[in-house]
Point group: C2
Chain length 140, copies 2
């Protein structure tokens, strides 16, 4: 069993913000999704690069456009690196219920403290590439 | 023309570290690639998740295994968010010369200041997904 150091209150705050955002996604709370983002955020989405809160908001139109069932957006292996005024978070997400079917994705979130509030300024969402040219040889 | 505020010395330091790392990649300097990484770094690579400096080092074996020409690994749109002790960097990379051919990828790098030295603890590399299920409808 691994011994883990206690989480600081700032780590807990950033973790809660990001986990709260995943819950807003699962429940379709479009305002909640945007609640802690900067106006100029940079998102590397599955297929494209998106800059700014309005284009970011529109990516969720597609996400919710043709649901196949209840939406799940479950984070695991959440790791928080927090400093005085900059933080980043990594996790794995299992997403279900959208037109994309079951999706296992990797997520990195970058945050800055702005006016005393932790604010998401960057998101990098990706799925492992299925392109043959990137597959390492067996046993590599 | 956009007015840009002057970059702080810490921003410049982090930028130089990451750009220096891309140069080490282009020149095949395997020691240089690892020079500023933590032992337990977490990498989201194109196809898999890698933890630790030795598995990370081995990903570069595949990168250099079957070159098609001179390696290029050119960063553009480098944006640095730096705090007192945590930072992250985003950029676009054009990579050429590997067995993968020409690759346009998105990169997020997370850093912590450890013992006074900026140290890479996280990398997220991804290519835009070509999977049909993730393509937004035309005009979306």
């Amino acid at each position: 069993m691994e011994t883990r150091r206690a989480e600081t209150s700032e780590e807990a705050r950033v973790r809660e913000l990001v986990v709260g955002w995943t819950r807003a996604i699962a429940s379709g709370d479009r305002k909640g999704i945007l609640a802690h983002h900067s106006a100029d955020l940079l998102m590397f989405d599955f297929t494209e690069t998106v800059r700014g809160i309005e284009p970011y908001d529109r990516t969720w139109d597609f996400f919710y456009a043709a649901p196949k069932g209840p939406i799940r957006f479950d984070a695991r292996d959440v790791e928080v690196t927090v400093g005085a005024d900059v933080a980043f978070v990594t996790c794995q997400i299992r997403c279900e219920g959208t037109s994309g079917g079951v999706v296992e994705l990797r997520l990195t979130v970058g945050l800055r403290k702005i006016g005393g509030e932790w604010t998401i300024t960057h998101e990098h969402h990706s799925v492992p590439s299925i392109e043959e040219r990137f597959q390492p040889p067996p046993g590599a």
